[in-house]
Each structure stands twice: as structure tokens, then as C-alpha cells.
Symmetry: C2
Subunit: 228 residues, 2 copies
């Protein structure tokens, strides 16, 4: 079961379904990055008309997974090192903000839930030692809860609905499943403590640093290709 954020509108219409399906295929690489999208072809493949497919494409564009040019067409986004830096600069700033707000606005029981989540991850990590399948869903859930804790609806939408699928796309296609687990664990713990102490300034700084470390980690994948 692939983890997809929860606070989304339920899937009612056909274009909803196509949007969710295409999004998964793009994030996972089944529809390869940078490739051109043929509307008639994909419409046939998903068994819908071009109109509903275009509706889905519009929404994919809203979350930066495809790019569109008038009278030319649609391409899947290309995962470049430059774009990674740009996106992570934005992410770092916004999640830093979210974390600072969360230190003020999270309910005690929400903080408690966060700590339980972390303990849970510690245990599964010990079990799966090294293989650490947990990273993806676990890390995502951690960030997700803090973002929700900001109580800023606009910020939540920006991060959870618009930006995060692109970030997942980088992580999945760059093969970010393995390392950095124990380090990330310690960083998560420090962030939770700051939030619990209502130290927004510290929480923001720690989150920014945590995300920068994550970026540097992905960045190495690009550097590897570069050096070959």
C-alpha cells in the first residue's frame, strides 16, 4: 500500500481517478520523467474522453508534475539537480514556518501522538535493521503531522497538496529508501522536544536543518551520475 496523503478530497469524479492514477505513475516513474504526454493516447489508455484527461492534466500541473505549453502540449517534469535545489529551498522555508507555528498551535494530544509515532518507528527500525523499509511512510507521516499542527490551512495545502508529490517523486526515483535512518530519528526527536517546549524558533531552525540534510542526501545521487 503506497502512502498517499490523507486530507484529500474523496475521489468522486472520473477525472479525480485519472488524476490520482497518473500522479502515482509519474511519481513512481512508470510514466517517465521528461517524456511528452499524448492526450489521445492516454485518454484511450485510461478509458476516458480527452476532456476529463485534460482536467486531470490541469491538476497535475498544479502540483508541478507536468508542464504545459499552449498549442504544444504537456511534458512530465524533468528531475534536474537545479530544480531539486530550488524546490528544497522552498520546502525548507515553508516547513520551517510550519514547524514554528506547530510549536504554538499543536494540541498536547497531537504532540503525544507524534512521540508515539516516533517510538513506533524506533521499534520497527530495530526489527528491520538496515533494510529500513520504514523511511518513506514513516518520515512522511512525521512531517505530515507537524504540517497539520501549524493549523494554517493555506500552508497545509501548499505543502501537502501541491509540493509533496514532487518531493516524493525525487525520493522515489532517486532511490532514497535506505540510509540516514538513525540520524533522521535523532533529528526528529529533537524537533519534537522543541515543539513540546513551545520553542518555535528552535523548532524552525531544527526543521530547516533536517530538511537541508535530506536535500544534501539526495544531491549525492546527482553527483554520482555527474562523476561517471
Amino acid at each position: 500500500m503506497t502512502h498517499t496523503f490523507l486530507n484529500e478530497a474523496p475521489i468522486t469524479t472520473a477525472s479525480d481517478q485519472v488524476f490520482v492514477d497518473m500522479r502515482r505513475e509519474i511519481v513512481e516513474g512508470s510514466i517517465v520523467q521528461g517524456s511528452k504526454i499524448s492526450e489521445p493516447e492516454l485518454a484511450k489508455r485510461y478509458g476516458v474522453s480527452r476532456a476529463t484527461l485534460r482536467e486531470a492534466l490541469n491538476r497535475l500541473e498544479s502540483c508541478y508534475l507536468v508542464e504545459r505549453k499552449a498549442n504544444v502540449g504537456c511534458r512530465v517534469v524533468a528531475l534536474t539537480a537545479e530544480r531539486l535545489i530550488e524546490v528544497y529551498q522552498v520546502r525548507s522555508s515553508l516547513e520551517g514556518l510550519a514547524c514554528r507555528l506547530a510549536a504554538d498551535n499543536m494540541e498536547p494530544e497531537e504532540v503525544k501522538g507524534l512521540k508515539q509515532l516516533l517510538n513506533q518507528h524506533l521499534q520497527t527500525q530495530r526489527v528491520k535493521e538496515g533494510e529500513s523499509y520504514y523511511q518513506e511512510a514513516g518520515d512522511l507521516d512525521f512531517h505530515y503531522r507537524i504540517i497539520q499542527g501549524s493549523k494554517n490551512a493555506h500552508l497545509i495545502h501548499l505543502l501537502c497538496n501541491e509540493l509533496y508529490q514532487l518531493i516524493r517523486m525525487y525520493r522515489v526515483q532517486m532511490g532514497m529508501v535506505g540510509p540516514r535512518v538513525s540520524k533522521a530519528f535523532d533529528e526528529h526527536l529533537a524537533i519534537i522536544n522543541a515543539i513540546e517546549n513551545h520553542d518555535g524558533e528552535l523548532a524552525e531552525m531544527l526543521m530547516k536543518r533536517h530538511i537541508s540534510a535530506s536535500q544534501a542526501n539526495i544531491q549525492t545521487k546527482f553527483d554520482v551520475y555527474q562523476s561517471i
Copy 2:
């Protein structure tokens, strides 16, 4: 001539035109905030089919000017005090980032252009003394150039294409045309100096403060209504 951001894709298709037209009407209040949008009605009014109108609606949703619910319809966004706070928290964070990046990445001639722009505004301000029609276009242009100076395409898109129309909508409909001119001038000057000295940290802080002051200024308009 209303100032609209320059780095937009040229208007080629019919839905482009409808998008730009509707956007202006919403921002200026001709289409009133919170009102429901009837697709057949507006399609007839703009002389296009429902398909192209819906395309325009999708893009208006991308820049937060309308909200959409499946099988229910579309509403113009409502300008609440809560939303203002949320949006400005995000804006402050992102433009702070932009300003910090601009301190590193702006070319000397770009900085020079910024200073000229400010001098220009100083003169027109002296002439129009008090009435200060300059605020809207001038302030917008100042922020616009710094954002461009960040050289971060994703950030530029986020601020200039997605967020700024909503901000303009608040300013226009709350009647923010008059005051805060001289104060804003000094703040702008300090920001430019920080950028020129490549002091990103200071530039970020000053910009955040500048935007917070702007927020507080708009906020008073809501408080006035509240107290009546």
C-alpha cells in the same frame, strides 16, 4: 493601466483571455468575493463555450481566487481576516527567502536598477504628496524585482504567478492605496542596502518585518469592521 505581472505566458488561446479578464474582475471586486459562479452564465457573458470557461476556472483555482467542489460548483474566494493571516505568514516566509537569495544572486546592474526605481518613487511621491497613488504599482514592482533576483524559478512562480493576485485582491478591496508610504520607503531603502552588501540574513529579516508591517496595516481594516 492596471499593473499585471510581466513574466506571464503570452495570451494566445481564448481561455487565456478569459482567465486574465476574470482574474482582473475578481481582484478588483467586479465579481464579488464569496459569490457563486455559474458556468453557463459566465460562458455566455464572455462569449465562449463552457469548456474554455472551465479551463479558465481551473487556473483561477491554481492562484487561489476561486474554490471548487466536485458536483457542486465554484465560488469566488472569501476575504476573511483568518485567511489574510495565513496568506501573509506564507508570503513573509517565502519573500524572506527570496530576499536572502537575492542578496547572493542579484547582478550589480539589477541592484542599480532597484535603487533607480526607488529614487523615481521618491520623486513621484513628493509630487503627489499624500494622495500617493504610487503605492500599488511601485511597491509591487519593488517586490517583483527582488523576487526575480532570487533566480529561483520555483519560488518566482509561487510568488508571482500563484500568490500575488490574491494579495493584490486584499489590498485593492480593502482600500489599501493611501498611507504607509514614507515608512515603506525607508524600509525599502534598508532592504536594498542589505542586498547590496550581500547580507542575506539581514535582508531576509528586514523583508519579513516589512511584510509583517504591511499585514498589520491591512488587518486594521478588518478590525474596523469588527468594531462596528
